[in-house]
């Protein structure tokens, strides 16, 4: 059960509503994790039931009411313990790799297109994450310990992304050098 711990982690510093969590997930942990709002709401209910989170309804004018969640002491302890627990390597299970195994003349153009699109998406992500890095993690050595961990995760994401870009270029160049069967 890892999503619940990701949620608790996101609540370490700020109390948030489900809606805010879903957005925070997209930027902060977003490089490594994605969760739909439905999933987040479901997990929040469970965590609150288990006493790991406290609810607090915040009435808003001109906006629907929201429910703020806050880590309880029990939640903090559970999270701290969880770090010592086992965790195994999780493969990305990305369709792209499976599709590549099916490369053929029929889908060559399509897959090249998909690669170009992935490349563009990754560029945009990297742009965002590099900005965060420069703004908040310019001097990693002087960060407090916990932030150093966040920095290292961010760095892993950036490096992964840059590696992916380079691979895309290589793959695209290889694919563009293939003669289509209809050409002489």
């Amino acid at each position: 059960m890892a999503l619940s711990h990701a949620i608790m982690t996101a609540l370490l510093e700020d109390d948030m509503s489900g809606y805010e969590l879903a957005k925070a997930f997209d930027v902060s942990l977003g490089f490594f994790w994605h969760a739909s709002h439905q999933q987040i709401y479901q997990q929040l209910h469970k965590l609150a039931e288990q006493g790991l989170l406290d609810k607090e309804t915040v009435v808003q004018r001109s906006r629907p009411d929201k429910i703020l969640y806050r880590l309880t002491e029990a939640g903090r302890e559970e999270l701290a313990q969880w770090v010592f627990g086992p965790s195994r390597v999780q493969e990305a299970k990305d369709d792209l790799w499976v599709k590549l195994y099916n490369l053929s003349e029929a889908n060559l153009a399509h897959l090249s297109g998909e690669l170009r699109q992935r490349r563009d998406e990754m560029m945009q992500r990297l742009y965002l994450y590099e900005k965060i890095r420069r703004r908040h993690y310019a001097e990693p050595d002087s960060l407090p310990l916990r932030r150093k961990g966040v920095y290292l995760a961010l760095l892993a994401g950036i490096r992964q992304g840059e590696q992916f870009l380079a691979w895309c270029d290589e793959a695209l160049s290889m694919l563009s050098n293939i003669d289509s069967p209809s050409s002489p």
Copy 2:
């Protein structure tokens, strides 16, 4: 539904039993995908029911009987169509990143240990995949088209792995430079 397509992809070249598929998954698609045998058996039943695979029971002496699965024409067509369908980026959802967000003096030593372990595991994987690369993909430009796709996927896995190693070293060196709170 991507596992089913990964299974069909694995059956493109060879007919296999569930057991053989599970093992093939660990080596070939293993860099990008993992599936338990239960999951594979379940999917095989479904795919056979849908007419995408054919079953054939092979009686063996000195071994339990096995059930060979073969792609049907319908299966091949479904797979070919699927390649043109949408696919989105899938995050790895690896606990490691979430754990890093929780870095503290209490778990610093533990997380360093986990990093070292991950690094070792990745080294072993890379060793295996580099061997496959040298043996079967030494001259990628002269491969038939489909194998070029497999090569590109393999290459992505290798590059990703190498990047991860480099990141691990950087992370470990950063973490080892932290004074523990009990030392002067």
